[in-house]
Symmetry: C2
Subunit: 607 residues, 2 copies
């Protein structure tokens, strides 16, 4: 069973050596408190909570699952106690304003916390995680009364929140939302309809649940331009802030899912439940999109979480389990056979997991800095700053969410593969990781939706290729400085320059074709997304390798040279063995849409 | 929920139009009975059995799983009745000799039967499937008394069989087997030890179970050269053939697995159980390898089974579910949104599944002809013929098993992806397919073991590259005849010629490197396997496309032109979108082992 150990060494490498987080925090309007000592204390406290409280109930939570009876959901054994500790530790309000009881720290710290918690126990992390979207929405769009009513309890974690978007007939296509909101006359609304797939929609961890619900006013225009946003509490809130009457929003059932079985996924039936409008009428979807990027990057974290946990499960097994002899001769001669880790193909698997977990982590940590600045724009009331950083983040979002969750799923499956047949058996915990990881490419927009968002919206519609031009120029700018270095750094830098030019030109070719053939965008987007991910990750590996190489050269890394050496070795492995997969995606994305579109719908047949 | 429909049109296309099975059967010593009418009757009867009996209990079997109590296993509801029908229909003995009650037909028919049954219900198919290895072993190595005692009941299906290889400390590395066999003095042995992962090791479907067990004689040499093979019946068999006393081989527990939950995977404790040696002392492993190729190709079938079933689940959903508008404009203008199938990225997913299922099927059907000839060698007592065809089959085996199961797993996951979030919910049945498919890359030799078998044994040790040379020459020979055709056939033929030359040269480069650096073989083998699979599948797609194109050209296919058109279209999709993935694997397999081997074992760390 994987016992989670927080990767603090790697986290600190990224924070202090690669991305200069101390300097970054120093320039944030809410970064003053995030001193290096404070950050260390938070990371270490969080690591302890994750290792000692969350990790031990990860596997048992999966085996037990959630229980549903008469509209009530009971979480697995230990979850309630763990959540109480989470609230007591003040973890929920880490990056929410002090005026509502939070600690007011930058949101990047919350993302780092979420990675550790999610790796230790993704199902558990869903409960407080969903509150985030709810809190952000109330904070951004709520009036003063709404903020004062809901935020203190949400920020403390005494209450949790949800986002109620999906309905049986629609998920991605929210223009089909049917849930109705009838004005009562007193400023409140009666909400009626059915929402499905509501994570943390019902549970026994908190005394109240605040739902943010997409619904239509009676006179609303059809489609996405007729959707409004409502706050619908599970229990009405009395004037003194205490919990009052039950609102008729009832959990009809919870889903039986492949994984994240300790996370309750509710069907919620709204039967004239009282709701309060938040944000402007018919502008609900826009409001919902304000924090879309950060929400999706929160899901991208799941990719690295499951790659990391699966690696942590596979590594000790590969060191202990013995099978056959290494092809280059006996390694553990006094033993009946060599440890798995001596076999190059097993090392290939472990290195793939490590490259995805650490490469992905560096991509997330970079994006988290942009998110900090975006939030600063909001806090400062600086719309231009918000938009600038949100746009920059918007370029990374689909790549991180789409690519990292796909690679995380692959890495989780690799972990099972290292275990051989034992990987398929529940007691080892490896198959749970693969099942838990499987949701990540489906929710918060499937990989296909991320791909369409990247190529269709971010590249073509919004920037006409400028985002790719800028990013590839940034990569070239960085790589150029190292292209004449000897050894692996120079080789990787030159490879990255070639890839940057290739990405730029390929994008141009797709843009030209898309102008004539719209289906090209949908036909090519998946391969474009994966290609982009592979090349982007190469950039982030090169950055890590350069820092490691400098630390070794100037002796500042002499205390843990093996850490820096292994960074360079993993980067080389990535360039040698994973980055080449970009080639297949490149050819795929440059293919015309003819072969995808040629077959008549009715000629897709079975039997 | 996918309702299985046997792909008889495609099966008959392969049998009659692509591979000339009628001509093939006519030249087999046991092919006389396999007339086209007989073959049709078998396929149609099997299809009905699979669609009406096996498919309906596939999902319920997963939900219920197997029950274990006091050493006894109860299979899920409906399995016992279905198995009784299977036995009553005489399906088990389809390709076993008439002298033991079988129908004596070529084994390819059994493989076609296994594909249909396995697609409808893989868990169920494991029970009769495991008997196959047992029957083949007894037939090949048993003495007359053993054959007469066990074969009639195994061939009828009244009894089932197992293969007991794996022990807690070893799976792949059977040299570590510890189970002991002490001679009793009367020609029998007392078998003691623990075997794990024994599929169909205990169940309630048949009145007796015949275990084939790997164990060591007291004076056996260490390692693989000291392993013998024993028949150990669950119940002793009386002189009159009736079932007698219980033999002390007891099921200690069954595994809780990620998938194939209706298939019982037993821990078997042998406590001085009576066994009878079969084959020569210390030659057990060799005997076990006689039918290794056919057993592994039986597992390769799982790749296409799950690709097919997942396609059958995803296709109707893609036609019914509506979301957004196609990028090239409204398609179902009178509906709230366009059907998923109008979106190019969804078509990409469906076409991938179709390309894997049908491309893989044609690879299996080709290999099945070799298997028929191999079995003929055995039946005719012609060792040279057996070896010749077994060697030819041996080249396909790791590619089919390794590549098709990996692609089958990917296809099963794609099916979930088409469903979006609904794919993650148990009731739709799509996630079961992905869980069931997950075992296929692990058992019967992991993908890593297949890869090592292909590159290390088949290519380097056994043939010094000759197998690749011959196969690529065969591909070139075929493609040359079409390289000057206009249109898609010519383009695909030329692409295949380029790939053939590339494969040949890349193999040579790896061979040269491997002579100096043994770790290269293990480091490169995974990418080599996947590369080989992608190129081989291209050859089999070209063959199908050529036949389809001829049928359209000479009007003999005028009754179902859409079938032939869709074959060519799927082939084009394969060449455009899937075959390019070979490029990434090519670069990967040509990388030196330096980057995989560089890191010290102890520098792989966590935290």
């Amino acid at each position: 069973m994987p016992q989670y150990k927080a990767p603090l060494r790697d986290v600190k490498f990224l924070l202090n050596e690669v991305f200069d987080y101390p300097g970054h925090y120093a320039q944030l309007s809410n970064g003053g408190e995030a001193t290096p000592d404070m950050v260390d204390a938070i990371l270490e406290g969080c690591a302890t909570f994750c290792e000692e409280i969350l990790s031990p109930i990860n596997h048992s939570g999966d085996l037990e699952g959630c229980h549903f009876e008469n509209g009530n959901v009971t979480t697995p054994k230990g979850f309630k106690e763990a959540y109480a500790e989470y609230v007591a530790g003040g973890w929920q309000g880490l990056s929410h304003p002090t005026e509502y009881g939070g600690q007011g720290l930058p949101m990047s710290l919350n993302l780092m916390k979420a990675e550790m918690m999610g790796t230790a126990n993704w199902s558990f992390t869903m409960y407080p995680g969903l509150s985030l979207g709810c809190m952000n929405t109330v904070m951004q769009y709520g009036n003063e009364a709404q903020k004062n009513t809901y935020l203190p309890k949400l920020v403390s974690g005494e209450w949790t929140g949800t986002m109620c978007l999906t309905e049986p007939q629609c998920g991605t296509d929210l223009g089909q939302v049917k849930t109705k909101a009838e004005p009562v006359g007193d400023g409140s609304y009666k909400i009626s309809g059915t929402k499905i797939f509501i994570s943390a929609g019902e549970h026994d961890l908190a005394e109240n649940i605040i739902h943010i619900v997409l619904a239509r006013l009676p006179d609303a225009p059809k489609g996405t331009r007729g959707i409004s946003l409502f706050i619908v509490p599970k229990f009405m809130v009395n004037a003194d802030g205490s919990v009052g009457e039950r609102n008729p929003v009832v959990c009809g059932s919870i889903e039986h899912k492949m994984g994240i079985r300790a996370s309750a996924t509710a069907v919620l039936n709204f039967d004239e439940a009282i709701g309060y409008m938040i944000a402007e009428p018919n502008k609900g979807l826009e409001a919902m999109f304000t924090f879309m990027n950060t929400a999706r990057i929160g899901t991208a974290v799941q990719g690295i979480a499951h790659a990391e946990l699966s690696y942590q499960g596979a590594l000790p097994y590969a060191k202990e389990r013995r099978s056959m002899r290494a092809l280059s001769g006996k390694k553990d001669a006094d033993q009946v056979a060599d440890a798995l880790i001596w076999h190059a193909d097993v090392r290939r698997m472990l290195l793939t997991q490590k490259a995805v977990a650490e490469g992905g982590r560096s991509m997330i940590y970079h994006a988290a800095k942009l998110a900090d600045n975006m939030v600063n724009g909001i806090l400062e009331g600086n719309q231009a700053k918000y938009e600038d950083y949100d746009n920059r983040l918007g370029f990374y979002t689909p790549i991180l969410k789409g690519f990292l969750t796909e690679m995380g799923l692959e890495s989780a499956n690799i972990g099972m593969q290292v275990f051989g047949g034992h990987g398929y058996i529940k007691e080892h915990g490896m198959e749970q990781i693969a099942r838990d990881a499987r949701i990540s490419t489906l929710y918060e927009g499937t990989t296909g939706i991320q791909a369409l968002d990247l190529l269709g919206r971010k590249v073509l519609l919004q920037t006409r290729g400028k985002c790719i031009k800028e990013f590839t120029n940034e990569m070239i700018g960085f790589a150029k400085g190292h292209a004449f270095s000897g050894g692996p750094i120079g080789a990787m830098a030159r490879a990255l320059i070639r890839r940057s030019l290739q990405w730029k030109w390929a994008t141009l070719r797709i843009m030209l074709r898309a102008a004539k053939d719209r289906d090209t965008v949908s036909s090519s987007c998946h391969d474009f997304l994966m290609y982009s991910g592979f090349v982007m990750m190469a950039y982030f590996w090169l950055q890590q390798a350069v820092v490691a190489s400098e630390k070794l050269a100037d002796k500042s890394g002499k205390e843990t040279p093996e850490f820096y050496k292994s960074k360079i070795q993993t980067a080389e492995f990535y360039f040698d063995r994973l980055l080449p997969r970009a080639d297949g995606h490149r050819t795929g994305m440059l293919a015309t849409s003819a072969t995808t579109m040629a077959m008549d719908n009715e000629h897709f047949v079975m039997g």
